[in-house]
Amino acid sequence: MLAEILQSLPQVLVDGIALGAIYAVIALGYTMVYGILELINFAHGEIFMTGAFIGVAMLILMTGMGWLAAMPAILALILVLVVTSILTGFMGVGIERMAYRPLRNSPKLITLISAIGVSFLLQDLVRFITEYKRGNYILTGPSMFNEQFSIKFSSISSSFSDAFFKTSTMILIIAVVIMMIGLDFFVNKTKWGMAMRAVAQDRETASLMSINVNKVISLTFFIGSALGGATGVLFAVQYGTIDPYIGFILGLKAFTAAVLGGIGNIRGAMAGGLMLGILEMFAAANLQLLTGGIFGAEYKDVFAFAILIVVLIFKPEGLFGKAVTEKV
């Protein structure tokens, strides 16, 4: 049994890192908003999904006009990424302005309900726009970056088999790393980043220090949503087929990743995302083997939620977070 697990380990790692990278970036959106507003932004998964749809729509449009053939594919992708992230960024700002800001002083329960409402509204909006235009709400993007590569793990030791991956996986991982480094730099080294951290720490005091709190919150939503939207495009390129309901379950798992890394902690979210991705892929590949065929790969979602529940019970502050005591 161990030999079989080892055999598939390299492939599990490659797939897990790709999936984990996606979780990590979406988790960033959750964790940034939670850090500042103490609100679970349920709509974040849907912003990711909308990003995926905008991206695929642009790619299809560009193919139709012949642009995709005219310019190098990577340039087209960068263009799509930039446009999508700007659009979803503004969408995030709009959502905050319309649905969350009027409720900032309401009980938390009400704001959560509004967030769930936004999430459902977006799902259906995307559904009917897509269905109206294409007749079917499941969308398949143009196939790009499909060249297969393999890493020869078998040359290291014969107990491993080779891991295969596509160019799109590599692009995904590189893009995510760039986004993460950029965000980390922005939050820790720039003036606006400092303002963000100040607002997260204490909104009222920050506003006394001449920080425009509303602007900072808008900025946070912009960055989180832009990252989410860009990840959506990368997801669509990597996995091909998208539908309006992918955002929900993916968002839930990304939230799990954020909790795993300690909610409000940006580096924690990155680590939590990668960990969850690898764990989930490991479970999908080996659950059947480990339990003697009782549980199959279809339980991988259950596995992810079980992690969430276990973390919340035993270490609610997450792996890298600090425990906070509630002030009265």
Binding site: L103, L109, I113, S114, D124, F128, I294, Y299, I309
Partner: protein, 429 residues
């Protein structure tokens, strides 16, 4: 208009006459125009009217009972639409009971549960497994399916099993802070669905995605319940008990502790309220209503499969509670009725009408925009609009205000005093 209402206020006789007149007219129109959905809806509207009259509570209950047990089934019974009206009424009843259950969890105790349909699923499967041959796969003794007479016991068993799962989920989960609870219950709802979907191996318990077919209908002394008009009475009876229980709980000690926990956990705790126990009780009681109705649902549909228990269902129940008013029993009943009728009748009717129009070539109407498919959009919009503009819902919940003087004079006397009510301030901040 204002003049009219001010004249009616305080004049009970006029109210009674108006109400009886309304019921008579609507029942006559339903009796004569059988296929008209509008007449049926107007008929149901009489109950809302009844709520707003100033009659004594007992009389209100009596009138509601007469209308629900006698008038509605009778006047709709002669036409072809009878079973479909009764079907709608039965489903409304099922959802009202579930929404009342969720109301205890969300409205009174302030715990956002996004996986509430899981308890409904547990109830449905509890009966479904034993009332089909499925149980023979893993039970070492007994012959299955059990006869339809066991249905009545299974209502209690379903109630108990759902409450048990509520506690089992609650014990670990209720220790986490409020907003995490939403996510965890969301996950729990999905877990239950996935588990039911895949529990056909290694031992075939739920028959997986195929679902359980031909569940035995309820039976008593050889009389079988098969049609919606028969289930209507079962649902009505259970609903009556549920409403009675909810009213009792709301103003009891436990009900007041739920509200205290909702407003401020720390303050409630320092007043000697056992947090975990109070929350667990809310979870268990809410879940048990849902479990009971799950059993009825399984028997009514005679078919159970995991697709009936998706997240959309959980959110639908949440929308009912928010629309009606968190914590308010009449509000939640109204919310559940409105949303269920919207779902079952109005949206499909409008869709059919629009399709007809586009067939006739009057307008070109794209299939993608069919209102029957727009549930998520409508529910999402309702949630946002009510959260922002009317968080207390259509009928805000009210707290009784006791007169201090009469309380001092003795507990016996104050029961006769009129208890005034004031709006519950919980969600208006």
């Amino acid at each position: 208009m204002n003049k009219l209402t001010s004249k009616l206020k305080g004049n009970k006789l006029a109210q009674i006459i108006l109400l009886v007149l309304y019921v008579l007219i609507t029942s006559l129109s339903l009796y004569l125009a059988q296929a008209s959905v509008t007449a049926f809806l107007l008929m149901l509207f009489s109950l809302l009217l009844l709520y707003y009259t100033e009659l004594p509570d007992r009389l209100k209950w009596l009138i509601a009972g007469v209308v629900l047990i006698g008038v509605i089934p009778f006047v709709s019974s002669t036409g072809p639409g009878y079973q479909s009206y009764m079907e709608v009424a039965t489903v409304v009843g099922i959802y009202v009971a579930m929404a009342l259950g969720l109301n205890i969890v969300v409205g009174l105790a302030g715990l956002l549960d996004l996986g509430f349909v899981a308890f409904f699923a547990i109830g449905a499967y509890t009966y479904g497994i034993f009332a089909t041959g499925q149980a023979a796969n893993f039970m070492p003794f007994g012959t299955f399916p059990l006869s339809g007479e066991s249905f009545w016991i299974f209502i209690l068993i379903g109630c108990f099993v759902a409450a048990l799962f509520g506690v089992l989920l609650g014990i670990p989960v209720l220790r986490v802070k409020g907003d995490y609870l939403a996510i965890v219950t969301l996950g729990f709802g999905e877990i239950i669905r996935i588990v039911f979907n895949n529990l056909d191996k290694p031992v075939n318990i739920t028959n997986g995605a195929m679902g359980l077919a031909s569940v035995k209908p309820p039976e008593i002394f050889g009389y079988q319940f098969v049609y919606p008009n028969q289930f209507y009475y079962i649902v009505l009876a259970i609903l009556f008990l549920v409403i009675l229980a909810v009213r009792r709980f709301e103003f009891s000690k436990i009900g007041r502790s739920w509200k205290a926990v909702r407003e401020n956990e720390i303050a409630a705790q320092s007043m000697g309220i056992h947090l975990v126990r109070t929350k667990l009780l809310a979870f268990a009681i809410g879940a048990s209503f849902s479990g009971m109705m799950g059993v009825v649902f399984a028997a009514k549909q005679t078919f159970v499969d995991p697709t009936s228990f998706t997240l959309l269902e959980s959110i639908t129940i949440l929308v009912m509670v928010i629309l009606g008013g968190m914590g308010s029993v009449p509000g939640v009943i109204l919310g559940a009725a409105v949303i269920t009728i919207l779902n079952l009748q109005v949206l499909t009717e409008v869709t059919n009408y629009l399709n007809q129009l586009s067939l006739d070539g009057v307008i070109s109407f794209p299939e993608a925009l069919a209102p029957a498919k727009m549930q998520r959009f409508i529910f999402g919009a309702i949630l946002i609009i009510f959260a922002i503009y009317r968080p207390q819902g259509l009928i805000p919940s009210k707290n009784p205000v006791f007169d201090e003087e009469s309380l001092k004079e003795g507990s016996k006397k104050h029961r006769k005093e009129k208890i005034t009510v004031e709006p519950d301030k919980g969600f208006q901040a």
